[in-house]
């Protein structure tokens, strides 16, 4: 627990605040000292912890997979290559089941999403106080270690996917074709404005649901860990809390994997839809 001087509310709030770098109220630039200060920084501020952890984990991914790729051999594979090949085979299988067009970008993207999001989610299983307390010793007061509980991270990825959806929709169908897809479905052409409204909402819902689904799941999981951590006050509640935390961690392990997989698969599905040149109805 973060210390006796904190109330439960403060403890929760502390855990849910990012380490934010931006313009302080006095005009100088620096790290926010409180959640309110972080909020007041507005758009021109950056969550250092989210960026740091996500980039760090991405580099871990690049390092290990890059190492396996560099030493990839058609002969007898080593342990790392075996592991990497297993994941790649799994992703390749999944992608080729969903995505029937030729695009060399899709499968590597699904791999990146799956592994990276999985690792970011997995940070949730590190006991929630360990890294923030350690950071506190180093003089850093806010540290949110699970990047996927930051909507900036999940929405950033979702918007990237959205950009690719738009890009490939226009590339495969042309601007006219893309517009026709939005305007002439699902109702006849004379209801075009209605169609356009419906389909645009549908289109915009894709990245939002993609990003917010991951964020929501991870945020909720993190929240439960925080709430269980508050139980470590007395001996009895502490034991109950410990058991519950262990149980939740086991269950969360499924969510962690599943959400990473869902994010990857939905991305592939959306991009497959973007590639589908629809026939006239």
């Amino acid at each position: 627990m973060a210390g006796q001087e904190l109330t439960s509310g403060e403890y929760i709030k502390h855990h849910l605040t990012n380490l934010t770098y931006g313009q302080l109220p006095d005009g100088s630039w620096g790290l926010a000292h409180s959640a309110e200060e972080a909020k007041e920084m507005g758009f021109w501020a950056i969550n250092v912890d989210s960026m740091g952890w996500s980039i760090g984990l991405g580099l871990v991914f690049c390092f290990f997979f890059g190492k396996a790729a560099k030493h990839a051999t058609a002969g007898v594979p080593g342990g790392l290559q075996n592991f990497v090949e297993m994941i790649i085979d799994f992703i390749d299988d999944t992608v080729s089941n969903i995505f029937n067009h030729t695009n060399s970008l899709i499968a590597p993207m699904a791999l990146t999403i799956f592994v990276w999001v999985f690792m970011m989610n997995l940070m949730d299983l590190i006991p929630i106080d360990v890294i923030p307390e350690f950071a506190k010793l180093l003089g850093v007061h806010y540290m949110k270690v699970v990047p996927s509980t930051d909507p900036n991270v999940t929405m950033g990825m979702a918007l990237c996917v959205f950009g690719l959806i738009l890009f490939y929709s226009i590339k495969c169908k042309g601007v006219g074709g893309f517009f026709a897809e939005l305007a002439f479905h699902p109702f006849p052409k004379f209801l075009m404005p209605f169609n356009l409204f419906l389909e645009t909402v549908n289109l915009i819902a894709k990245p939002i649901s993609l990003g917010l689904r991951l964020f929501g799941n991870m945020y909720a999981g993190e929240m439960i860990f925080i709430l269980l951590a508050i139980m470590y006050g007395g001996i009895v509640t502490g034991i109950v809390g410990g058991v519950l935390q262990w149980g939740w961690a086991m269950f969360h392990l499924i969510i962690v994997t599943l959400q990473a997989f869902i994010f990857a698969v939905l991305t592939v599905v959306y991009l497959a839809q973007a590639h589908d040149v629809e026939e006239e109805h």
């Binding site: 507005g42 758009f43 890059g66 990839a72 290559q81 390749d92 990146t112 990276w116 991270v153």
Partner: protein
């Protein structure tokens, strides 16, 4: 929880990682995998081929063995036959030789006997002649009694 520039930064980060994976991770590994797949397929095909070859060779070897056995048996039979014939021939030869020798021996014996008889006859004739001379007290004219003597000798 605030939406800020992290969003943009994260988009860039995400794009960079995807690009890295697309460029440097995915191709070499999938290539190695498909290469290995091909190598394994080839290996399996080769193994199958080798197995077929082995089967073929084995059946061929059995055939050859059987043929060789038959041939050997033939040779043995032939040799046995020839040996039998040779033994038969040798036996015949021996028998003939024996008979010939026997015949020769018999002829010699006859010859010898005749010669002995002749000698005996002459001696007996001489003896009889001298005996008769003694009995008659005179010599017998050989030329006169030659025929008689010869008759006598022939009778002996």
């Amino acid at each position: 929880m605030n939406i800020n520039i992290t969003l943009i930064a994260q988009m860039v980060t995400f794009a960079v990682f995807i690009w890295f994976c697309w460029k440097y991770i995915w191709p070499p590994i999938t290539e190695a995998m498909s290469e290995r797949q091909k190598a394994i397929a080839e290996g399996l095909a080769a193994a199958e081929r080798a197995e077929k070859d082995l089967e073929l060779a084995q059946s061929k070897a059995t055939d050859q063995m059987r043929e060789a056995k038959v041939e050997a048996q033939q040779h043995i039979d032939e040799a046995r036959e020839r040996a039998k014939q040779m033994v038969e021939a040798a036996k015949d030869d021996a028998r003939q030789e024996g008979e010939r020798l026997l015949e020769a021996a018999r002829a010699e014996i006859d010859q010898e006997m005749n010669r002995a008889k002749e000698t005996l006859r002459i001696e007996v004739a001489e003896l009889a002649l001298s005996g008769a001379e003694k009995v008659l007290g005179s010599s017998i004219d050989r030329s006169k009694h030659g025929v008689l003597l010869d008759e006598l000798a022939a009778e002996l």
